[in-house]
Symmetry: D2
Subunit: 337 residues, 4 copies
């Protein structure tokens, strides 16, 4: 931590700051510049930097150690590769995750999954518990939905991912799903994150609607601090002033995260844009930017979907896009599955 | 719901849209303008408007019924007044809520509360479970903290409010606190909101960091839909590009909410600004804008606080501010307690 | 400038950085911490800090000198008070500026100004050149509008302020107005700012729609660097996700700016909220937060206004508000005129 | 325009609204729904919708005609292709624009352009007038810079684009450059836009830092309304809460704009990200999303650049990226030059 004193700060004020940080358990290294005296506070203690900023004569306090450790490339330089029944995510392996927004019936999931499996998709997505802004909207089939996902996935030899909303639901999810999703609105539900740190299945953590990348990494740190090392990050669009698209997909988050963290980062173009005809261009852009995977909504009959039909691809549209992505992957020297 | 057709839309496209909405259970009223044909879809069904927007020839779909009902002044024109042991919030009654950011010890809470009670404050605040962005930061004393709050509050005849973070904590909170707080990060933790709808104690619901007012009201609707009619809304600053202040206090939310909802709205200037010397001007501004209450951090010894000391007032600063607020209240014809 | 090296940085990398900054004309002070080596770069040169951030081994580069000088309280500790024909703005003097959004006719301005002058208002506002997002909307009366403003103001012994949009308009404005306004959309029109630095009349500079306070101050610095020391800052609402109000009025900008700058700061509640019934609560809040003035839209007949009628007060509403503000000013120990 | 009445609105209130809009020159079509009466206001007049929203009984007023005309695909369904000395932009033709951030000397521009021309680049960029937030930073070489650009471009048979900041500079720019750029900070400098409408050279218009797509299109409408039909739009990143990247590149703007407008849209990954190592992934993503061109900063010696060196590519890095982009273009069935 660096403490920059005001140019007008007195000797006495500087002494008081040094005394203060020593009391808090830090060592102080003083360096006098032309304009400003800078105090380096060295130590392992946690302190709210604003407490120092309020001392008289202090201009600014600058934290120099990263708040995250386990998620950082400094801690683990090589890419984390999540591997599940032969399917790999991360380290040059691009995973395709597809399926309907929400589970509506066995027939719906079965007919969608059959096609997806036929195209080569290995991971099936589907919502059983739905976070809806209105208490009067369809809230999902609950456990029945998870059962359907598992049954269909087993039939076509696929993996399952679905969103968990509450600590008490975790044991139920462990019975049915392979990857537990945390939705954008729960990115800072710290109790949920802590509990997910105690399990030993991968967690797909979505970036919050107005979260900075550092906050996403801190939430991943919560999970990893509990001992669960298998976290997949997910960029799904952030809230901006633009409202033609539902959210703004921040694709630069991909190279940014890949530089500072070893965790894989996948992209959800369906929720980010909210409109079917924007899913294909944004999927291609995500792959070109280096994403480790895509999570795309596909519905056997989007026009009758109970939720988010407007952003779901028809299976045939998805098939066509998937072929284009494979062609791009060849040029980009990536494996896609 | 109004469906605006493109100026180039064909007769056939319009017919197809009418057929579609009739299938979904709506009546259709068509009105042909100079440029655009507009279809009014009348009915009580819930439909994702984007499903219609994707039909060919459709320019725009406009929802005209408010998504919230119970929180609206249309539903209940007169102000909701929350009354607890003689203390009133709302309808011209301005409540003062004060106390430390987090409970650290019996002595700390006792010495702070003694002073606050002496000044006339009736509601004590304090955090026992703390939502921290870092898993390595102080996370609160837990149930022990709630016990301390209750004990001290009873000693000085005060009410208690504290933040609940998880569904499973609710029964514990009901034993100790009078008003349950929902923090900004949990504003859209829908499972928590639903469970709080089932209790019969007031809930103080904080606006999310990047939530729009309508979303705050929808979250309140979740609680009210469960049967709990005692919701206090709280403006605590929203995230903006400005970073000299921690967040930007949106005081215009006060008159906006007071027009469309009957629920009381209080303001938290401590978290909004994050700095002690901005708390007094923002408190005065909130009262002048018509706030139904304030929630202010006060600590017996801010310099040694384990959390947010930098934004906590010294008891003497608080006392001085409280007097100024009372003088303002007289001019503004409001009661403050 | 402080350069923080990565914890894994080699001795060689540190040497390279030191060599680099010395080449750029800085002195280097090295301080080795437990985790990080920090290099203090001391000197007066301007350098893009990202150039250093790209050197290998560098974790972060931190600028510690403020980018502004003349606007800062370090440069001039006492409040700047703008004085024009006996009217003062700043240093405890709160100025009321009022008038129609745009000048439509002599009769309109005359009838509005007559009432305002009667209430005690000393500064008349009105737009002659209007920045409109659509090329097809009313663009103002131009020079004819300025003439009307001047004539009416002289009749009632008032001062005039109006918005200048272009460098080439400055000589014309100098003939008619007492305070030149720069609109939010021109806050970073640097050529305009430079030219306004060369005149010797006060400039009222509005904060840009998504400008940070530091950027507003930098724009004021442009004007002051040219030699014009009379700048009045204006908070007029920033763009946020909320869209019930047109913009979000950031009242915490008032105490923030008053701490770091000596310049007066006034508030425009009309443009910030965009709705007449929000102007009164926000005006009272602004005064309570310590604003040095208000700029309020008043129209003799808002229902027929060519521009922004919806946010203009009726003269009688304004009169009532003005009385309330005077009562508040007494409690707050401020002078208002 | 559609006027939705409150569910509680009286017959009398509805009548008053109808009378009001008829006075303003509109026809009224009334349609009574179950909950709400909706009034369609048909006509060509311009009216501020907030004036109607303030009438009693009115719930909401909805504008249904687009504010822009000439930029819209409704007006001109086929893609606009800008053609300059055989170089095409738009309609499947992807243009590469490259060069240094600012012109520093003849040698610098010459040595950079020589390499770029060798790689096949046809359009040279470079800043002669620089919009800098600090009045104390390097402001560009001015006309001398434009002369250098022209001379070097002619030597290597290239086109030139450079940023114009002020109305009075336009005649000078017409002498030297082929495409006039408008920077993000001037996107709503309406006087500048109007003047650019009167020239007959292409204008490259950058999206403002917090501008919505509709606002960008309205600014393009200003230029086109003056008679200049050759506008190239440019996405260069928007301001968001994320600050690891300088701005957030909104690549979904590409398919969004291509649907509603016929104008070409190019992407500036250098300013958007602000860091050299993010330029390559974002350039590839932009092409994959369908961009009609790229504008990339390349400097013969970024380490000594006077401006933005940190985001400039080395010529060799650019050459490598260019080859990758050409390979991608083949897969995407686009022409790049």
């Amino acid at each position: 931590m660096l403490i920059v004193m005001e140019s007008r700060a007195t000797e006495e004020q500087t002494e008081k700051v040094i005394k203060f940080i020593k009391q808090k358990g830090f060592d102080a290294h003083v360096s006098k510049g032309e304009d400003h005296t800078v105090i380096g506070a060295v130590g392992r203690k946690v302190i709210d930097k604003r407490d120092i900023e309020l001392l008289s004569g202090v201009k600014e306090v600058i934290r120099i150690t990263s708040p995250y450790k386990l998620v950082s490339r400094v801690f683990k330089p090589e890419d984390t590769i999540i591997e599940l029944k032969g399917v790999k995510i991360g380290g040059g392996n691009t995973a395709m995750i597809a399926g309907p927004c929400s589970v509506e019936s066995y027939e719906q999931v079965d007919s969608t999954a059959k096609k997806l499996a036929g195209y080569g998709v290995k991971i099936l997505r589907g919502g059983a518990f739905k976070p809806r802004t209105s208490p009067y909207a369809f809230q999902g089939l609950g456990e029945e939905g998870l059962k359907i996902l598992r049954e269909v996935a087993d039939k076509y030899d696929m993996l399952v991912t679905s969103e968990v909303m509450e600590v008490s639901q975790i044991p139920m999810f462990l019975k049915y799903v392979d990857i537990l999703q945390v939705g954008a609105r729960n990115m800072q539900n710290f109790n949920l994150l802590k509990s997910l740190g105690e399990i030993r299945k991968p967690v797909l953590l979505k970036r919050g609607l107005s979260a900075m990348i550092e906050e996403l990494l801190m939430s991943a740190e919560y999970i990893m601090a509990g001992g669960n090392r298998e976290v997949i990050l997910c960029e799904r669009g952030i809230r901006t002033f633009e409202h033609i698209t539902r959210n703004t997909l921040d694709l630069s988050a991909i190279p940014v995260i890949q530089k500072i963290s070893h965790l894989p980062i996948v992209v959800d173009p369906s929720h980010a844009t909210g409109l079917r005809d924007k899913v294909a261009p944004m999927s291609k852009a995500a792959i070109a930017a280096g994403a480790d995977g895509l999570i795309i909504e596909v519905h056997n009959s989007p026009d009758t979907a109970l939720c988010d039909g407007a952003q779901s691809l028809y299976p045939e549209q998805f098939a066509e896009l998937y072929e284009e992505l494979k062609a791009l992957a060849v040029v980009l020297k990536k494996k896609i599955c």
